[in-house]
Symmetry: C2
Amino acid sequence: MAQQIADRRDVSFVLHEMMEAEKLSKTEKFAEFNKKTIDLIVSEARHLAIKEILPTQALGDEGCRFENGKVFVPESFHKIMALFKEGEWLAMADDPEYGGQGMPKLVATAAGEFFNGANPSFMLYHGMTHGAAKLVETFGTETQKGLYLKKLLSGEWGGTMLLTEPDAGSDVGALTTSAVKNEDGTYAISGAKIFISGGEHDMVENIIHPVLARIDGAPEGTRGISLFTVPKYHVNEDGTLGEFNDVVCTGIEEKLGIHGNVTASLTLGGKGNCTGTLLGKENKGMSAMFVMMNEARQFIGLQGFSIASAAYMVALNYARERVQGRDMLNPKDGPVPIIRHPDVRRQLMTMKAYVEGMRGLIYYTARCWDLAATADSDEERNRYTGLIEVLTPIVKGYITDKAFEVTNHAVQVHGGYGYIKEFPVEQLMRDCRISMIYEGTNGIQAADLLGRKLGMNDGKTFVAYMDNIRIRIEDAKEFKTLSDMAARVETAHTRTNEIALHLGKIILSDQRPLANAFACPFLEVMGDLSMAWMLLWRASVASQKLKKLVGSSDPESVRIKAEKNKDAAFYDGQIKTARFFINTILPATLGKLNAIEITDGAAVEMLDSSFGS
Amino acid sequence: MAQQIADRRDVSFVLHEMMEAEKLSKTEKFAEFNKKTIDLIVSEARHLAIKEILPTQALGDEGCRFENGKVFVPESFHKIMALFKEGEWLAMADDPEYGGQGMPKLVATAAGEFFNGANPSFMLYHGMTHGAAKLVETFGTETQKGLYLKKLLSGEWGGTMLLTEPDAGSDVGALTTSAVKNEDGTYAISGAKIFISGGEHDMVENIIHPVLARIDGAPEGTRGISLFTVPKYHVNEDGTLGEFNDVVCTGIEEKLGIHGNVTASLTLGGKGNCTGTLLGKENKGMSAMFVMMNEARQFIGLQGFSIASAAYMVALNYARERVQGRDMLNPKDGPVPIIRHPDVRRQLMTMKAYVEGMRGLIYYTARCWDLAATADSDEERNRYTGLIEVLTPIVKGYITDKAFEVTNHAVQVHGGYGYIKEFPVEQLMRDCRISMIYEGTNGIQAADLLGRKLGMNDGKTFVAYMDNIRIRIEDAKEFKTLSDMAARVETAHTRTNEIALHLGKIILSDQRPLANAFACPFLEVMGDLSMAWMLLWRASVASQKLKKLVGSSDPESVRIKAEKNKDAAFYDGQIKTARFFINTILPATLGKLNAIEITDGAAVEMLDSSFGS
């Protein structure tokens, strides 16, 4: 049976052979999670994802139905919702005190990859719920936690995030939803919010909305924004549901994709009856959001990546089965599967390189959380949280950009069949596209990397990130067969450092807009370098294993072994994938670095009228 | 009123200032088409496109309806069909003898850009009809021409191309539709064809299907394929319609986009009653197809480009109107339109550079047809047809790849609004995607460029193409302000020549598959270089005009003039756009050239099993 959603062997490779997941079980916090347990969790998640969730993906594409303020999700979602809750999959890495499973994030990420690749629309409900729960956990009073937390983390209730308004998208500070303090300390909320994922639906009996609003008299802009919890139905002290809280769904969006996940417009307090409670401190709503942002953005990175991984599997399986054309060197042998054609191989290789590079980077990020959570000292903890700061815009911005490209390749590998709904790839492409936009457009991610992360902690955080890459370059140099590759990555590393310094200077000058015109190109080269890092790391691990298996690194001996031995084929594939990326994609990165160095100002200098009449 | 579909000023620039369209009127063939006439034609086409056709674009997205073998197009298409026929727009550049307008292709292309950008689904019906007509015109007997040609070129009847079968897509030679000669010289046709654009619909009373089939006993593969005309209804000698010809629509595809254009599955002779007449010679069907292929592929290039152009206009207008965030250097001035943000400008500039480079290349290609058609000698004609041979895979393959990227940027510029159907860009992206696939996937275009066009005529055809680029580089060197840019393009030109030679050697060796793994990268660098060529050419023309307008090329004087004078703003925009492309995109092309030079074989060498378990 062909692999679906994600390559189980590669998931295992990253978990155990690269990230050494079991080492986490040496800590008290994760003592339960030995290799056997980890593998069991991933296998169970995979089983549920493939057997139950994946079949709902195409069905979910038919979309949600809106009727008289109510939203009905695709029928098939109800069954998987029950199974997902039953398996307690929503709060894998959360505190057991509130019903979480206490897993390492690394393990939860592997499970999450299968779930998100199986049906991103469905998983987005849980992603939103989880984010809302984390806000309550982090900023809530004991009362708020007591009322909402377990219900959210069990999936019994839904959660959202009410941020965007028609005139306040990327510019959150422009929002106009208002909050007026009531005598009992609660707030009367009134406003209209749009683009609310999971804002209203029939899978849960209540929805808890964290809402950004401005308290009457608060300062303008982001400094005057506060965060509130606004339940759809009030919750009584005993946990039973009270009255309707005047949160009305006024419509849902027709979208390009993720049709199974409702995007709602909500009116709060249209009849003057909407009440919320302050979550955290007055006027500190934005900083509360920022605390949660890394996690939320990494979730979107995981979402985009998981779809890309699924798309690669679909394209690979198709390329192995679809017979069309003849082998270029042996045309008389008759028609062959299209995986024999060099251009198809190039596309598959491109997809594989990005998917595996992304998997490495995403799992690595998850492990940083785990290492921060189990750190022995503040210094150690800060090291990992610093890495996470730099990783976040790359994981969200770069990975979702490239994930979309991967889905685009998957369509192309299918030829005409890629364009029709009978095959799953066009939906994967549509579903993937949103990940580049929400939770901060990728332009905003790039601005974050260049404007905040590069200079953070006097640049030391960035330097630490780059040093981590260098370590793996040094490692790879130890292997004769990898030394050329290591040298190329080293060149890219050095050049990226130079360019970071170059842009870093400009952004501190009065030419700041010029630097910002290169924020996205800078994000891209940082991402490319990070892919090379991961692929080179993979190749180092694989080289070691391969040497043990084959007893030699002579190419011919490796090939002979790999033809018979699955592991050898896998490891050899790791090395070749690194070679492909480093020798055919990374050279373009060097060109992109040169372009940033030129820092041409045409886009900034151009008159608005010169863009077109 | 903001520009829609295409920037009229830029269309005029390319037509008159770059391509000097009026010069064509010095020839006998195009004597009627002076500047005034040309502008009148383009303005009329634009008017019809904007006022009548564009409003049907979103309506068409609702798709066609299939009922009992019949297909109903979107209701709104019937009115524009009538207007389109009335204006005699289908056969703009065709022979007046058969009802064509005899226009230069260059002019027809400008008109076609507006039509295709207004509704590519609708225009695809006409593109197919036109292609069928050209087959009849080129290969038909006088009887066939008499029966079909005028009806097709007037748009009264539809035309298609029946090529693909479920197991014969890119590998046309694998087709199984059969033809058995009848006693009266006609052929009994039987088989099943899929992916037939415009294969069945209710806008015309008859459809003429050119069909690829194998005559009983003919050789296997492409050598045994013949071309037939198979009308939906037989046509009597007096032109009236006869009996139904057993061409049955068995279903239509649900697709990612171009929903307004039906994609039909057709069964021919399911009841044994389908008759066709041979078009051209027995077993020469493939070569007949190849004769038409350049034109058909250029049409798809035009389609993709026109959508990209429309997407740029939509994104530009949105960026000028959408107020969000503040100016980076002057935050106190309050919210600004997003065109003020550097990253948005970068995206708009990227779109503009590609769209204008593409417009140049497509109009240039059209002019090559006109110059070939009016050439004084075989040598001159061969020069232009040679250029067309090299241009075709670039226009089809590279342009549709980049057109899709442009639509993708248009979505991103819109943020969350880009993802919802209320805004037009997500449809443009979906509609554009097919252009990378049909009429030969872009992988096939790349193989054509590398495998056929590079070595054609002992490499002289390719050299002539490259020499044409060099001429414009030399021109640009004359302008002091362009000399740096010209030097960069020259470097890319030199490197591309080297790499072409490098790959050309490999493709003639036993490592042919290795070269083919770099066919797409080679197409990409050739396309990038062609964009740079066009943009540099534009900048040269603009520099000359600007000097006359401003009396100096001092940047500050230019800026002051451009702020008040529309033409100066336009010309300055041309120079800045060239600068942007050459200084921020072309450096990556040099990196890509380096990657091709490395010619890493990992993708080709990899075991199939190493791609994943």
